[in-house]
């Protein structure tokens, strides 16, 4: 039998742990990563020469970050590591890479997708003003560049990242004017039973909240009707609480409404998708161990469903074991079962988080017609609704064809969640019924000049 050619996409917690398991039995996987350094988003490392300590960068999680980075440095000589490399296409047998400015093809026999997540973006008035960031982008700024997004910052949205980021920013010395949480206190109480499945994680969340309040940060739960205004950049933010409007001056806003899995490569690899109620997203089907519907393609970490960094490490190991098993190698079944149990516990906690931090249910109904949903193509909510009403559109790809929504640079990575909500709400359908955008390569923009150089080289050789 030919030597298996294993490619792992993503050097976050899932990808690194998967590589570790494979390297331990003498396999040499290729680990492709878009970033300069390993760690993913959660344990992102600053560029070489930056001097913030792990404790400063990762807080409570610094030991886990250190451990992952340490594992990775030990792995380096045992794997084929390709940093700064974008996987922009997959045809079911090979990947197309943009490897530090060069096009390369990379055939695989086994593909492990550890592609992570992106913020769920739900537009609100003023969301396109300079000074408005996603929570994820604000966190990248802090971790990678050691800078903050403003001098008087408001964090707004829903999800655990809201409090974590506010805490990280405040600890780094940033001035947080307010934390505005669109989920309510009572919802969080109802979720307590599930949240207690991870008492330590729950305790950390409560600690962040208490710390913020102790340090005089204004924290408001159960807000709605968020609106940012300003002339050339953010000047004020307003919201409603119990029907009363309040306004605050600020110069930067970070917003986010939970995370969405990055599933484009799984789509191009031919995986079957199904609608996942917990994630409120179409996700590639997978078994407990991480096998997708396509033989030889595995999913681990947030890219296959949001479960956080701890789960990603476990899932990376679990999927790698499944891969070894599929290669006919003997694995310790107890290890697999131990990982399965641990992952199930986290999944219970995750259910609690979704109940505690639901995406704003009334968003699609309340979003104003003039709000831009697709910023690449400048498509408003009103245009989407008009096509639904005028042409009777009830399916996502049709909406894309008729309006251009999701056709721009982001290819729907940013706008498709909001567009789907608008379509479902206007057409009176569920998110399941309206389907999902079909992926097309490149999953991120690809420079023409690279293709030209490659084509010329082929001609002359």
């Amino acid at each position: 039998m030919n030597e298996p050619r294993i490619v792992i996409v993503g050097a976050g917690p899932a990808g690194v742990r998967a590589a570790e398991v494979l390297a331990a039995v003498g396999l040499r996987p290729v680990l492709v990563d878009e970033n300069q350094r390993a760690g993913g988003q959660i344990y992102r490392q600053p560029p070489a020469g930056f001097v913030r300590s792990a404790k400063q960068l990762y807080g409570f999680e610094s030991a886990k970050a250190d451990a992952l980075h340490h594992t990775f440095s030990q792995l380096l000589s045992h794997i084929d590591y390709r940093p700064e490399t974008l996987v922009w296409n997959c045809d079911g047998r090979q990947l197309d890479l943009l490897d530090r400015g060069q096009q390369r093809s990379l055939p695989y026999s086994h593909l492990m997708l550890c592609t992570g997540a992106i913020d769920r973006v739900l537009p609100f008035p003023g969301w396109l003003l300079p000074g408005v960031y996603t929570l994820g982008a604000a966190q990248v700024a802090l971790k990678a560049q050691g800078c903050v997004i403003g001098s008087r910052i408001v964090m707004v949205g829903s999800g655990p990242l809201l409090y974590l980021l506010a805490y990280q920013y405040a600890k780094a010395g940033a001035s947080i004017a307010a934390v505005l949480d669109t989920s309510s206190f009572s919802g969080k109480l109802q979720a307590t039973a599930d949240l207690l499945k991870q008492p330590l994680t729950l305790a950390k969340g409560l600690y962040f909240l208490a710390w913020l309040r102790c340090h005089g940060v204004k924290v408001v739960e159960g807000v709605d009707k968020i609106a940012v205004s300003g002339e050339q950049k953010v000047k004020t933010i307003s919201w409603h609480k119990n029907g009363r409007e309040q306004t605050l001056e600020c110069d930067a806003v970070a917003s986010g409404f939970g995370l969405r899995s990055e599933t484009q490569l799984a789509d191009l690899a031919g995986c079957v998708f199904e609608f996942n109620q917990l994630n409120q997203q179409w996700l590639p089907q997978r078994d407990l161990a991480g096998r997708s519907s396509v033989k030889g393609v595995y999913l681990a970490g947030d890219g296959g469903g949001i479960a956080g960094a701890d789960a990603a490490e476990l899932a990376g190991k679990r999927a790698a074991l499944a891969l070894l098993e599929d290669l006919g190698k003997t694995i310790d079944p107890r290890e697999g079962r131990r990982l399965d149990r641990a992952l199930q516990r986290i999944q219970g906690f995750r259910r609690g988080l979704e109940r505690a931090f639901p995406a704003p249910v009334a968003w699609a109904r309340e979003c104003a017609d003039e709000e831009i949903i697709c910023r690449c193509e400048e498509i408003t909510a009103g245009e989407l609704r008009r096509v639904v009403n005028h042409a009777g559109t009830v399916e996502m790809n049709r909406l894309k064809a008729l309006t251009r929504v999701g056709m721009g640079r982001c290819q729907g990575r940013v706008c498709s969640a909001a567009a789907a909500e608008i379509l479902a709400c206007s057409a009176g359908k569920s998110l399941t019924e309206i389907g999902r955008l079909r992926g097309q390569p490149p999953i991120k923009p690809f420079p023409v000049v690279v293709g030209v150089a490659l084509s010329s080289a082929r001609e002359t050789s």
Binding site: E377, L402, Q411, Q440, V448, V449, V452, R458, E459
Partner: protein, 373 residues
């Protein structure tokens, strides 16, 4: 669930051909049921390049193409939208004197069809289009040609047909079609049965499959155009640009994106199975940059393909069946159907209503394949 419908005309296929025929028939007050396996206009009609081009067509297509050209001019009155139709010109480039001679030759052949072709030498071309690259011997401009947005056109024809009273059934896969000597019975998945005096086979790449049910063999095969689009760029290129012998074609849309095609993708007879091909894209990138060097600085944001039906002689099948009275075919347009479609719909309506059409279509007869065998 079973449902029985009766209509004057049943149409298989909700692409541009079927939808424009449905509208034309309704305008003659004939009742129409159209059956489409997916969404109207989602296959070849929706994923093609969008060229509204007469230049370069085989001369036998030009009468049909000219009839279509006249309809394109009144699209808003006909279907309530211009579908981003723009008369931007079509410029066909020649790399050398031999290719330039072939363009001059074509101008002679097309004389009398109203294309108003203008041959431009190297210097004239450079002066008029300073964005062009170096190695171009000349070109031929058809000023009246242009482009439209393919995603919108078939959908707009479908909507107009529906508003005129056509019964359009999407997500309805036809399983069988038979003729009992008097009328057609078309059965679709889900228990739908349509009886009609006339049947139009507008099934695109699936057209040969239905022709076969009436004893007509056609060597149709699927092709997968390889398309890609850049991010919006500063406005630079007005006309559609193509090259003698094909290989690549490009236009810049009002929003600034360049839409390009060249080579073939891969797939089977199912749109979900189609894939653009990276190597074909790189090859067409190189050609495109040779002729429009500014494209080197662009980023590609999406590539795609879809299923089109093609025939060995690159001519469509259009006209009456040779085996079955009341059956008319319109499929296998070989990558060149978009511009023709509005006229094809009218021709089919002529054939249904009058048994004949004023537009010469003999060259597209399905009988040409029987004769050869």
């Amino acid at each position: 669930m079973s449902e029985r419908l009766t209509a004057d005309v049943a149409i298989i296929g909700g692409g541009l051909m079927g939808c424009s025929a449905a509208l034309a028939l309704r305008r003659m007050n004939l009742s129409v049921v159209l059956l489409e396996q997916g969404w109207c206009g989602a296959q070849a009609s929706g994923v093609n390049y969008g060229g509204v081009r007469r230049q370069g067509r085989p001369v036998v297509q030009l009468p049909l193409s000219q009839r279509a050209y006249a309809i394109w001019q009144r699209l808003p009155q006909l279907i309530g939208s211009d579908c981003e139709y723009a008369i931007s010109g079509h410029l066909k480039l020649a790399r050398n004197e031999a290719e330039l001679a072939s363009l001059e030759d074509y101008r002679g052949q097309a004389d009398g069809f109203g294309l108003q072709l203008e041959i431009l030498g190297r210097e004239a071309l450079r002066q008029r289009y300073p964005w062009l690259g170096e190695n171009i011997a000349g070109g031929s401009l058809c000023p009246g040609d242009g482009h439209a947005n393919p995603r919108l056109v078939a959908a707009a024809f479908a909507l107009a047909a529906r508003n005129h009273g056509a019964d359009l059934r999407e997500g309805t896969t036809v399983e069988s079609a038979v003729f009992d000597g008097r009328q057609f019975t078309v059965c679709a998945a889900g228990g739908l049965e349509v009886k009609a005096k006339f049947l139009l086979n507008c099934a695109g790449a699936w057209g040969a499959k239905f022709a076969e049910q009436f004893g007509e063999q056609v060597p149709e095969y699927p092709i997968f155009p390889n398309m890609w689009v850049t991010e919006p760029m500063p406005k630079l290129v007005e006309p559609n640009v193509g090259i003698v012998g094909g290989g690549f074609y490009v236009r810049q849309v009002a929003r600034g994106n360049f839409v390009l095609g060249g080579g073939r993708g891969t797939g089977q007879l199912a749109i979900a199975s189609t894939r653009p091909d990276s190597a074909a894209m790189f090859a067409s990138m190189r050609m495109a940059c040779e002729f429009i060097p500014a494209l080197r600085n662009a980023l590609v944001i999406r590539s795609w393909t879809g299923v089109e039906g093609a025939l060995p002689d690159h001519q469509p099948v259009l006209g009456p069946s040779v085996t079955t009275p009341g059956l008319f075919h319109a499929f296998g347009f070989s990558g060149g159907g978009f511009q023709l479609a509005p006229a094809v719909g009218e021709v089919l309506a002529d054939l249904v209503a009058h048994g004949a059409t004023a537009t010469p279509i003999e060259a597209f007869s399905i009988g040409r394949f029987n004769a050869a065998s």
